[in-house]
Every structure is written in C-alpha cells, then in structure tokens.
C-alpha cells in the first residue's frame, strides 16, 4: 500500500542559477532509492510536490522530459518559505519529491498534428519538458511542424537560452524568442508575446496550441489566437493554484468541480470556458 503523502527521498545533484536576478534556479535530483526512480513515471506537463522536511511542500512543474533518462529537473522561482529554503540548498543535500501529479499535455491524442507552444516568463518549465519530449527521435516524426514562441522581460531573464539555440539549429523547430524591449547585445525579436504571436500567425489547421504564462499574457494572447482562427478545443492551458495534498482531496485548488491537482493542471480552453475564473 503506497502512502500518497510520503515523498521519495532525493539528493540534489546540480544547482544552476538561471536568470540574472538569481530568482530562478534549476535543481537536478537523483532518487536515493533506485526503485523510486522507476515508480516516478511522468509525462511532460505534470508537476510534483517538492518537499523539505520541517518547512513544507511546494507544487512545481517538472522541467525535464522522461526522455532524458534519470535526469529530474525543476526550475524554481524563489517566492515563499519552501522555495526560499530550496534556493539555499546545495548539491548533495537530501530532500523529498512527491509525485508525479496531475494530467499532462495530451500530445499522444494529437499525433500527426502541428504543435504551437506559447510561453511567457518562468511558466516555460513544463513546456521545456514538452519541447525536449517532442524532439526525441522516438516522437519527432509523429508530429508536424513545431512553433515555439517564448518571451521574457530581458535577455537575462530567458530560461534555457543555450538549449533553445540548439533546438533551433538541430531540432527542426521554429523558435521565436522575444524580450519585452530592445536590449544592448540582443539581436533577436523584441515585443510582448501576444505581438510576436500575431507576427508568427500560427496556422490553426490540424494543430494544437499549448499556452502557459502569466494571466496578463494569456489575456492578450487569446484574442490573437481567436483572430487566427483557433478554436477553444485546440488550445490547452496549464493552471496553477494553491495546493496541499496534490491528490484531489484537500479541497483548495478547485476551479469549479475540477481539481487543478488531479483533474488538471492542463485544461483545454473549451473546458475552462465552462468553469469559473477561480485561478
């Protein structure tokens, strides 16, 4: 009998500062018990509770893709007590991971289609997982073209910059990386994500869009997608809410009758249109 509240013990094997303001770090974990690694079977879009004994737990999207082997990555923004403590931890420290939780981006159900990914700020983490998964040789041929639109405030706030450059070169994907304003040394796109989306004008035919970002970005991207002819059931969003149990019991993350932790975090726009905006 599994205890759903009991985290798997993990050790931090790598810590990387991701952004210039040092508020985002990527942590790489390895499981202390190999059998846990096997049990931790996940898909891009799922999340897990990072658990620090004595401090608490925090639900964080999984940034790595299962195709990367045992590499388990989380990119964490320093915000509250758990993430604050996590940012103070070092390679070799032991903590807990509980999961994987929730549903995932329904990629398998949309085999053969073109994929448009739109991300803003540090919401890109689970979409990084998706991108890596899509580019895996086993998966790449199963999908059509891949457009990746991603924006951050400044070049220094862009996550995974090196990787994205590599994707553009080798992965056969179209990356549209943008920053809010002109910056010395920045030669790429500038402008907000909705504007760039408008320029890219992703084609809705035989395609799905995965959108994840701050509410303000989603609010202004939606009309752009509408204009391009996207239907609500082609667009998938990932939500976040305060969580405790992560398994659909404790009652706080619900949006209408759906629990973000168990029924979500990925919902189609069509589903969300039938639900209150309690997120």
């Amino acid at each position: 009998m599994l205890n759903p509240y009991l985290p798997y013990p993990v050790r931090i094997t790598d810590v990387r500062v991701e952004t210039e303001d040092k508020t985002l770090r990527t942590f790489e974990f390895e499981f202390l018990n190999p059998k846990d690694a096997k049990a931790f079977d996940y898909h891009p879009g799922q999340f897990a509770e990072l658990s620090i004994p004595g401090v608490g737990e925090s639900p964080i999207g999984i940034a790595s893709s299962p195709t990367e082997g045992d590499r388990l990555l989380f990119t964490v923004f320093r915000a509250g007590s758990v993430t604050g403590r996590l940012h103070g931890m070092q390679v070799g420290d032991v903590m807990g991971v509980r999961g994987p939780m929730g549903n995932w981006y329904p990629l398998d159900a949309h085999e053969g289609k073109n994929i448009t990914i739109i991300a803003g700020g540090y919401a890109v983490t689970t979409l990084r997982a998706t991108m890596v998964w899509l580019q895996d040789p086993k998966n790449r041929d199963r999908f059509g073209s891949i457009d990746f639109i991603y924006g951050a405030r400044t070049p220094g706030m862009l996550l995974y910059r090196d990787e994205m450059a590599a994707w553009q070169k080798t992965g056969g994907v179209n990356c549209h990386i943008t920053v809010d304003r002109e910056f010395p040394g920045w030669t790429g796109l500038t402008g907000f994500v909705p504007t760039v989306t408008e320029q890219v004008a992703p084609n809705p035919n035989n395609a799905i869009a995965l959108v994840c970002g701050p509410p303000i970005m989603i609010k202004f991207t939606q009309p752009v997608l509408d204009k391009c002819g996207w239907k609500a059931d082609q667009i998938y969003l990932s939500l976040e809410n305060r969580m405790k149990c992560g398994i659909g019991i404790c009652g706080r993350c619900n949006v209408g009758h759906q629990y973000v932790c168990k029924d979500g975090p990925v919902f189609s726009k069509a589903e969300l249109d039938q639900l209150p905006v309690e997120y």
Partner: protein
C-alpha cells in the same frame, strides 16, 4: 534543593538598543559579574515589544522573560516606553491571571549608565526563574509523548501490519479502500 541549584534556566531578555543594551555592555567592560543564563535580543525600543514576542519565547521553551528599556521620560523616540509600559503591565497581569507564574516575567528600566542596576537585575531575574524551575506552560511541544517516535520503516506498507480484509464494510466506490489488492 540541590537539584534546583544545578538547574540553569533559559531566559530571553529583550533590551532596548539605546539603554539597557548599553548597560549590559558597560557591565561587561567594567568586569561586573552577572549570571549568563539569558540570551539578549536587541530591540530598537521597548515600544517595539509585542506580546507576541513574549508568547513566542515561552512557546519555544523559554523559562523566563526579561524586558528592559529606558527610564520613563528618557525614551530615544519620545514616548515608546510610555506606551509599552501600559501594554506590558496589562500583559503581565493577564499572564499572571492565567497561571504563568509571576516570577517568570520581569520588566525593568535601566539606563546605559546603570551597569550596577543591570547586574543586580540580572541576578534577580535569574534567581527568580531558577526558583520556579523549568516552564511547562504554553510550551509548544513537537516531540512530546503524545506523538509516536520516529518510525524506522520507509513505506507505509512496512509500517502497517496487513489490514484484515473486512468484506462487509461499506465502500461506496469499492475501488480502492480494500479493493484492487492495494
């Protein structure tokens, strides 16, 4: 009696930066002897003293509390200690009323020049608290007997003796509580 003498109380002392903290310094550099059973917390003024600090210290296991600041009228900020005087008087009455012994909570006015008064007060506070013994009231205990000790097993499965299957027990969903061979 012997046991009580051996016991070293833990006292949390809140000293105003402008006076009592200086008095402690002065007592130190003047080589005055005073008991070391308290941990000093520097506060900007006794006016900053919140009842929360006192309760928090007691909850964390302090045996006594000592708050010391500038003499009335001498507050660096004008009126901080006048305000805290009212607050602390009332708080002490209340804590006394609910049974936190009178001798655990101490307040004093000590200017930065009064090293001698500081020394006497320190002795007085420590002796009063020592006489009362360890504080058990309001202490938040995370590891008391009411909670079982840290188990040695890793999974719930190892912790539990296998539950008897209770076939008739009502299970509306039937799926997991006992079903599925979980």
């Amino acid at each position: 009696m012997k046991e009580i003498e051996l016991y070293e109380p833990r006292i949390v002392a809140f000293f105003c930066h402008w006076c009592s903290y200086g008095a402690a310094d002065l007592a130190g550099v003047s080589r005055m002897e005073y008991p070391a059973s308290f941990r000093a917390v520097r506060i900007p003024c006794t006016g900053r003293m919140s009842p929360k600090f006192i309760l928090h210290a007691l909850r964390q296991g302090a045996d006594g509390i000592w708050v010391s600041g500038c003499h009335p009228g001498d507050c660096h900020y004008g009126t901080g200690n006048y305000h805290s005087r009212r607050r602390l008087e009332l708080l002490k009455n209340m804590l006394d009323y609910i049974g936190i012994e009178e001798g655990r909570i101490h307040f004093s006015w000590i200017s930065s020049a009064e090293a001698e008064k500081f020394q006497q007060m320190a002795i007085r506070v420590v002796e009063a608290v020592r006489g009362l013994g360890p504080n058990t009231r309001l202490v938040k205990s995370v590891c008391s007997n009411c909670i079982p000790p840290v188990p040695t097993c890793d999974t719930m499965h190892e912790c539990y003796e296998p539950l008897e299957e209770i076939p008739g027990a009502p299970r509306p969903n039937g799926s997991c509580c006992g079903g599925n061979g979980l």
